[in-house]
C-alpha cells in the first residue's frame, strides 16, 4: 500500500448541495472512500482546506459571483484532475435561466436593497472559466457516476462517458414509451442517459435533467411536441429548464420561444 493516499477535494459553488449528497449518501461506502483517499477539503463533511493541493477536485455549482471567479482559478491551480459534478457545474444549472433575463431587474424585484447583492450577470459552467478534465452530467449526479469516475481516475484509466440517449436506457429497462402510449412530451430522445431512465419508469415524461445526449435531434423532437399539441412557448420551456445553459437546448428553446413571441 502506498505511503500517501491520493488527495481529493469537494468544492461548492452556486448550487443546492444535492450533488455533494452523492458522497454523503454513500452509506458504508463513504467510509470505504475515506480509506482509499484523503478527503482534504469537503466543508459539508468536515475537512476545510480550500487551497490544499489535490489529485482530484470534484466541483459542484455554477460560477455566479465575482468571488467565484477567483476561487475557481485557485481550485484549478491546485488540482491535477478537475471533475464537475452536476448540471450547475457542467451547464450553469437551473439558475442559468437568469442568463435569458435581466438579472438586475429580478434582484430588484426580490430584494428591497439590491445594492447589497453581488452577482455576475450570468450563471456559467466551470468550463467557461478553466479547463475541466471530466464532466459528470445530472441534476443530481448519482453515486454510480461519482464512484465510477473516482475508481477510474484512481486506476489511471479514462473514465467511461455516457452519451447515449435516455431512450436506450428505457429499452434496456423494458419501460413503456410514454410518448407513444400517453402522448407525453418526453425529453428522453435528446437527453443523456445516466439516471437510469427513472421518469419513464414512473410513467412520466423525462425533463432532461441530464442534459443533451450525443447528436441530439432537438429540431425533430420540437416538431413532434408541436404535433402532440404543445404551443411553441410550451415547447420552448421544455428545452429551457434544468439545462438551459447547454447550447443544444438553449438554441432550440430560444428558437421555439421566439416563434411564440414573433
Amino acid at each position: 500500500m502506498a505511503a500517501t493516499k491520493p488527495r481529493v477535494a469537494v468544492h461548492k459553488f452556486s448550487s443546492c448541495d444535492g450533488c455533494q449528497l452523492a458522497f454523503l449518501n454513500l452509506g458504508d461506502a463513504l467510509l470505504q472512500v475515506a480509506e482509499l483517499v484523503e478527503l482534504a477539503h469537503f466543508a459539508e463533511a468536515g475537512p476545510v482546506d480550500p487551497d490544499a493541493p489535490v489529485d482530484i477536485a470534484f466541483v459542484e455549482g455554477s460560477v455566479s459571483t465575482p468571488e467565484d471567479l477567483e476561487r475557481i482559478a485557485r481550485v484549478r491551480a491546485n488540482s491535477r484532475f478537475l471533475v464537475t459534478i452536476g448540471a450547475c457545474a457542467t451547464a450553469g444549472g437551473v439558475q442559468a435561466l437568469r442568463n435569458l433575463a435581466n438579472t438586475a431587474e429580478w434582484v430588484a424585484a426580490i430584494y428591497a436593497k439590491p445594492d447589497h447583492i453581488r452577482l455576475l450577470e450570468h450563471s456559467t459552467p466551470i468550463a467557461s472559466h478553466v479547463k475541466v478534465d471530466l464532466e459528470l452530467w445530472g441534476c443530481p449526479v448519482n453515486a454510480r457516476q461519482i464512484i465510477g469516475a473516482l475508481r477510474a481516475l484512481l486506476f489511471g484509466v479514462t473514465p467511461a462517458e455516457e452519451r447515449d440517449k435516455v431512450c436506450l436506457e428505457c429499452k434496456r429497462r423494458q419501460s413503456v414509451c410514454v410518448v407513444v402510449t400517453k402522448g407525453l412530451a418526453c425529453m428522453g430522445p435528446v437527453t443523456r442517459t445516466g439516471c437510469g431512465a427513472l421518469c419513464p419508469s414512473f410513467g412520466r415524461d423525462c425533463y432532461a435533467c441530464y442534459g443533451p445526449a450525443e447528436n441530439p435531434n432537438t429540431a425533430a423532437l420540437a416538431r413532434r411536441f408541436e404535433g402532440l399539441g404543445l404551443s411553441p412557448a410550451a415547447v420552448g420551456r421544455r428545452f429551457l429548464f434544468i439545462n438551459s445553459g447547454a447550447p443544444a437546448f438553449r438554441d432550440q428553446g430560444l428558437g421555439a420561444s421566439g416563434k411564440a413571441n414573433g
Binding site: 443546492c16 448541495d17 463533511a45 439558475q95 453581488r118 412520466r204
Partner: protein, 442 residues
C-alpha cells in the same frame, strides 16, 4: 481548520482580536459570522449569509403549475420533498383540489423518508462530531464505528423510503399536483414496511444515545412556531401554531410574520410580531408532543429531559425522536398499503391565489402562488425555514456566548458559535452561503 487566529499584543490591558473562518464546516452551505467584543461585552454580532441568490421566485413566473414541483425541488438537495409538498399544497389550494386519503398518506410516507435521511445526516455527519470532539464523521467512525454505521444505515433507509415514491432521493420525480406520477407495487410497499419495522430498535437506541450526549446548560426564552394538527404530529399539512397560542391557516401567515432584508445577508429575515422565533424539530416537539403515539411519548420520557425544552442543544435529541417517530409512522402507513385506482386526482386549473406549507426537516416552509386561468404562475413567494431562524440564531449566539463566557480564547469561542449555529441545522442552500467568523476585541 481555516486560518489561524491572529491575536495582537495586549495594549493597555485590552486586547484586539480577529478570527476569520472563511468556510464554516458541517453546515449545508456557507455563511459568515461577524463578532466584535469590546470591554468584555459583545458590541456587534451578525450572522452573515452571502447566498448567491438563485432567484427561483422569478424562474417560476410564466411556468405551468405542472413544472413547479420539479423546479422548486432544485432549491435544496437535502430537503427537495419539503419544497415539492409545500408547492403542491399551495397549488391545490389555488385550484380547490382535494387529493384524497391515499395521496395524503403517501405524501406523509415520502416526507418521513426525507426527515429520516436529513435528520440522520445532520445528527451523524454534521452535529455529533461537535459533541465528541472530532473534525468529521470519518474521524469519529474510527472510535465509534457502531454508532456511525447505525447512523449511515438509517440514513440509507430514509433514502430508500424516498425512492419508493420518488425514484431517487435527491430531486425525486414522483410528486405532482393532484398526487403522484406512480404508485408503488404492494410487494415493494410491504418489503419497505418490514425494513422499517426492523429498524425501530436502532432508532430507539439512537434516541438514547443522543440523549446521553453532554450538552451545555443553555436555557433561553424563545417562541416556538410550527404546524399543528388536531390528530397528527405535523409533517405534510396542517395549520400554523405558536407557543403563545397563535393558531392560523397558511393563508394568514403574512398577517403575522414579516420578512425584511438586512445589509449583511442575502437571506431575508423573518419576524413574528416583531420578534425572532424558532422553527424546526425542537419547536415542533415543544408544541406537538401530545400528538405522538404512546410508545414514542414513553421514549421521550426516558430521555430524562424536561419537555418542552428551552435549551437549543436538545435539538439533536428532538431530531432523534423525530427519526424514531418517522420510521414508526411510515411503517404504520405502509402496513395496510393497497394499490389505488389512480395515483393522482384530476386537476383543473383556475385563476387565484393558493397558500401551502409543510414541515421541512429544519422547520416551517411556506409558499404562496398566484396563478392565471391556464395554470401559469403569475407570482410566487417562498419563505424557507433558515431565513425564519436567522434572527433567532443571532439572538441565541448573543445569549449563549455570554453564558459560555467571553473570556474563552478565540478558538473556543469560534467552536462554541459553530455548535450553536449547527443546532439549527441551517440549510444555507435554501437561504445560502459563506460562514466567515470575524471576532474583533477592543
Amino acid at each position: 481548520m481555516a486560518e489561524e487566529p491572529k491575536s495582537a499584543a495586549p495594549e493597555r490591558g485590552e486586547r484586539t482580536v480577529q478570527i476569520h473562518v472563511p468556510v464554516l464546516a458541517r453546515v449545508e452551505g456557507e455563511g459568515a459570522l461577524h463578532l466584535r467584543i469590546r470591554g468584555g461585552q459583545i458590541e456587534e454580532l451578525s450572522l452573515q449569509i452571502y447566498e448567491p441568490p438563485r432567484l427561483f421566485e422569478k424562474f417560476l413566473e410564466g411556468r405551468s403549475y405542472e413544472e413547479v414541483p420539479d423546479m422548486v425541488a432544485r432549491i435544496c438537495g437535502i430537503c427537495p420533498v419539503a419544497y415539492q409538498i409545500s408547492a403542491v399544497n399551495a397549488l391545490e389550494d389555488a385550484f380547490g383540489v382535494e387529493p384524497g386519503p391515499w395521496v395524503q398518506a403517501m405524501r406523509r410516507v415520502l416526507y418521513c423518508g426525507e426527515w429520516i435521511q436529513s435528520h440522520c445526516l445532520h445528527i451523524h455527519l454534521l452535529a455529533a462530531p461537535d459533541f465528541l470532539g472530532y473534525e468529521s464523521v470519518i474521524a469519529m467512525a474510527r472510535d465509534h464505528p457502531q454508532v456511525v454505521r447505525r447512523g449511515l444505515a438509517l440514513q440509507a433507509l430514509g433514502n430508500d423510503l424516498m425512492r419508493l415514491l420518488g425514484a431517487r432521493s435527491v430531486h425525486p420525480i414522483g410528486v405532482k399536483v393532484g398526487g403522484f406520477h406512480h404508485a408503488p407495487h404492494p410487494a415493494e410497499a410491504q418489503a419497505m414496511a418490514e425494513r422499517l419495522h426492523a429498524a425501530l430498535a436502532d432508532t430507539q437506541a439512537l434516541v438514547r444515545w443522543c440523549a446521553s450526549l453532554a450538552v451545555p446548560e443553555d436555557w433561553q426564552d424563545f417562541v416556538s412556531v410550527a404546524m399543528g394538527d388536531a390528530q397528527q404530529y405535523p409533517i405534510e399539512r396542517g395549520r400554523i401554531i405558536a407557543g403563545d397560542g397563535l393558531a392560523i391557516d397558511p393563508a394568514q401567515y403574512e398577517q403575522h410574520f414579516t420578512e425584511e432584508q438586512v445589509a449583511h445577508s442575502t437571506a431575508l429575515y423573518s419576524r413574528y410580531r416583531g420578534r425572532a422565533y424558532l422553527v424546526g424539530p425542537l419547536a415542533r416537539l415543544n408544541l406537538n408532543r401530545d400528538r405522538l403515539a404512546a410508545p414514542v411519548q414513553q421514549l421521550l420520557a426516558q430521555t430524562a429531559l424536561a419537555w418542552p425544552s428551552r435549551n437549543m442543544f436538545h435539538s439533536i435529541v428532538a431530531r432523534a425522536i423525530e427519526v424514531h417517530f418517522a420510521v414508526a409512522e411510515a411503517a404504520r402507513l405502509l402496513q395496510d398499503y393497497t394499490l389505488p385506482s389512480a395515483p393522482a386526482v384530476a386537476v383543473t386549473p383556475r385563476a387565484g391565489v393558493g397558500y401551502g406549507c409543510s414541515e421541512a426537516p429544519r422547520g416551517l416552509l411556506w409558499h404562496r402562488y398566484r396563478v392565471d386561468g391556464d395554470g401559469r404562475i403569475v407570482e410566487a413567494r417562498i419563505v424557507p425555514p433558515t431565513s425564519q431562524n436567522q434572527a433567532r440564531i443571532e439572538e441565541d449566539l448573543r445569549l449563549s456566548l455570554q453564558a459560555f463566557g467571553l473570556d474563552h480564547d478565540d478558538e473556543q469561542l469560534r467552536l462554541h458559535c459553530e455548535k450553536v449555529i449547527r443546532n439549527y441545522d441551517p440549510c444555507i442552500s435554501c437561504a445560502t452561503h459563506f460562514l466567515r467568523l470575524g471576532v474583533q476585541r477592543e
